[in-house]
Symmetry: C4
Subunit: 290 residues, 4 copies
Amino acid sequence: MQEALHTLARLLTSVAVLVAALAVASPPAGAQTTAGDPDAERKADLITAYKILVNEGILDSFGHVSVRSAKDPNVFFMPRAMPPALVSVDDLLELRVSDSQPIDPKGRRVNGERYIHGEIYKARPDVMSVIHSHSQAVIPLSLTPIKLRPVVAQAGFLPPETPTFEIREVRKDGDRGMQVTDSVRGSALARTLSSHPVALMRGHGEVVVGGSVKQAVVYAAYVDINARMQMQALLLSRDIVALDGPELFTPAEFDINRPWEHLRQKTLDDAARAKVDRAQFGLDQTQAKR
Amino acid sequence: MQEALHTLARLLTSVAVLVAALAVASPPAGAQTTAGDPDAERKADLITAYKILVNEGILDSFGHVSVRSAKDPNVFFMPRAMPPALVSVDDLLELRVSDSQPIDPKGRRVNGERYIHGEIYKARPDVMSVIHSHSQAVIPLSLTPIKLRPVVAQAGFLPPETPTFEIREVRKDGDRGMQVTDSVRGSALARTLSSHPVALMRGHGEVVVGGSVKQAVVYAAYVDINARMQMQALLLSRDIVALDGPELFTPAEFDINRPWEHLRQKTLDDAARAKVDRAQFGLDQTQAKR
Amino acid sequence: MQEALHTLARLLTSVAVLVAALAVASPPAGAQTTAGDPDAERKADLITAYKILVNEGILDSFGHVSVRSAKDPNVFFMPRAMPPALVSVDDLLELRVSDSQPIDPKGRRVNGERYIHGEIYKARPDVMSVIHSHSQAVIPLSLTPIKLRPVVAQAGFLPPETPTFEIREVRKDGDRGMQVTDSVRGSALARTLSSHPVALMRGHGEVVVGGSVKQAVVYAAYVDINARMQMQALLLSRDIVALDGPELFTPAEFDINRPWEHLRQKTLDDAARAKVDRAQFGLDQTQAKR
Amino acid sequence: MQEALHTLARLLTSVAVLVAALAVASPPAGAQTTAGDPDAERKADLITAYKILVNEGILDSFGHVSVRSAKDPNVFFMPRAMPPALVSVDDLLELRVSDSQPIDPKGRRVNGERYIHGEIYKARPDVMSVIHSHSQAVIPLSLTPIKLRPVVAQAGFLPPETPTFEIREVRKDGDRGMQVTDSVRGSALARTLSSHPVALMRGHGEVVVGGSVKQAVVYAAYVDINARMQMQALLLSRDIVALDGPELFTPAEFDINRPWEHLRQKTLDDAARAKVDRAQFGLDQTQAKR
């Protein structure tokens, strides 16, 4: 009897597995384009960005990524408050740039740090995507007087010194904690970021911005590598060579498509491996119930 | 034709796999709830804690976790002496807080360091769970005069300085080794811990306590991250910024459910992968024989 | 009964898997030898080199490997511009040593840094293979005044000090960036390399050369290990012991076949694991469509 | 037709897989005891030791382990020259302690560094097993004037300072390299080791000895952990606490069975995972052909 039940269960599970596999394998990952939705591609890239950043260890149980609407630049998309590893298109909320509040959340919980995104979109018309991470590659530097400096060739999109946001500078009496949970803190972070692609956040992580989701993700990946290389070099010698003027470049000069494709493929491979195992155990259905 | 064959194959192959999956996937992991047992949930959390801490590398072949009984606060549960990776509900013993001795062990071997747990439960009525680990993230700090300090935002549950227990201070002539194997050493450790959530143990590891198993586990995970970030920052500069008063928080202010769920899900995913392979080879039956 | 079912299931399940396995397991990986092609073996080794170096983390989304033609020493083979992880024999182009230009590219895009390879083949008649990598093991050293020195026994093929190429020394007004994208930069790099097996490239990576693809790959693997050991030793003490005269050796004295076989087998094992998962989901066909 | 062939192939492969799985799962791993062979258990432990040490990263493409014969203390067993990852019982040779020469090698190639083993067995009647590894945990220390010192509780089997063998002290004019390839070098190493369980080898690795294979393996695992903890602590402060007299212990006081079982089980789990994948691809047969 047990065997018969399992046989039936397995038949149904295999169908789910095959569907899931096809979903993972179709580039871009998660692109269930809604015909006529001008933001479909940006939302799809956002879901892929989550998968890449979780896979690279840049996002773990905290951190969030958003994208500005192509249809309406006064709106941005960001997931409800949830673990980054589980974000899907259905989890995206629409929020207003003006006050970082959600438009019709339908009972879904917003992220307390949405002001990081809204205030940066407000201050930076050029920015289309914002990543806030707790990357362990940058936190050590953020705790010291040493500024992140570009040292590896691909980090030439960084300025000679990347600013570190110190939240105490805008702390008022009675303020607690280090989270950017209101527009005062959010706009202070945006001021520290100014026109740069990155700002570290002391003891907290970083914010990385780009003219597209793809650019922000590639920037975040290279900030991580650059930070580790700079730190290791500084342990060996205080006399290290950072990139100089002719070695820096503007965003337009940096083709991010090849690193984006490399990261996306790397994430697909790893996602396929995890999906084989989870699907065989019916774990995808278990997750859906929550 | 190939699809039909595969369909048939899939529905026949995974009988054992699906059973194993159901066992792994039922939250909380290993919760063979005994109807009417007020400690069923705490014991289930304890088993999950073991899986999480082993998966995170915080427990390896040594280390142990316990939970105080909800039914009787003068009793705590802890596994018999065994590798952390294999702990199940059936391995739990009941011990007395008063003297760290087991109640009816039924021939199972108790852990020599049970006094760490008993003496802390005795000194700390607020503590419901104790973790003793040999985490390699904290041992280096424990060997130096430098104290663990909170530097990352999520570590605000730590005091400005975490004490390091030096067992030589209670060593008597003839005493050997560094294990906490009697109530004198155990109560000395509890005094060093005092009202804090953590105490390092020089050259040995740490003890982490919480108002629940979930809290202790989340604390242990963030102590690890914080220790690594503090160490790496100190290698760069002696002038590092630690959290100050307004950045610290009380346990009640730290929602540990979201990191707990993230860690639990991460552990389930990895457990599923291992179970696929072991089940296919009948290794689970092999383990049960031992 | 369960055994019979499992036996039946096993024999039905893995048709695609066995085909994939045969493809992966045939040594050397990817060797579609063309009867009568004197460069077939070198090309096959080149493909294996890519798999090994990607698996070892020495190549990631950047970096490239080439091999000189056995048939015509004025020609070398190198893939079109593409992610290292995906290189197959069909992606190889023929280029001229004299000017690093492709012979009949058939519309495939050449790699901008092909001059690294051409100029070294020109300057070094003994060199049959060139690896350019962005290995994170050597970048930190490259940023400091400290030279790579042989410290581990197997690194005795290195000279007492390995040169670091500083591209600013050949930078002309108006030159941008750090990539070796013309023969001036390429020949400058070759001059820095001189008769050595390795040259670091400040903030960029390294170039490693050998009398065969196998030798270059084994050298690259040991440069990585040596660099990490030298760096960690320097963190402990400025007074470290490097290999001296009698501890160095010539290429002829170093049997690279055993480490090459070890690396190849290690890469096969890992490739098999990834192929199991991708094959079960038809992902290989998906990739071919792109 | 292809399906029929594969079906048949799969049936045969599955039988091999199931046999392999049973072989892996039966403790101790690889114990094909030959009735009446007093050295069967030691040889079986030796094979398990190789699997554990490769899995722990202590052995990679180099390094070797041996065990003294229980039947004849003037004989020891060691594999032919081959990658550690592939060692099986059939690869073991018998060698004489007196001169490190093989007894009836049957054309199999001996390891050039067998003198490490023979000379230690000669000098140390208490030693039953010798491990020579290139562990990257100890090489950095070996390059400096700093001696390995016991700092973690489980490393109390180490003396206050572990000696570092410097091969130049016995180098004669014309000697080349750093390998221990004759009895002069071997006996010099044994003199440096003296009565200790470990000696580092500058720029090369270490030698670890024990009263059994199990003890040597557990010692090697803890030397690795201890070395890493000591190094990281030294980066933070020159003032670190090492174990003192009462914290050290004799071999008899250290129950190595629990860590050995933990390591063995950890290796079995990982071996099962690799065997699932390799067996499905017929890679085990591919390896057997070499």
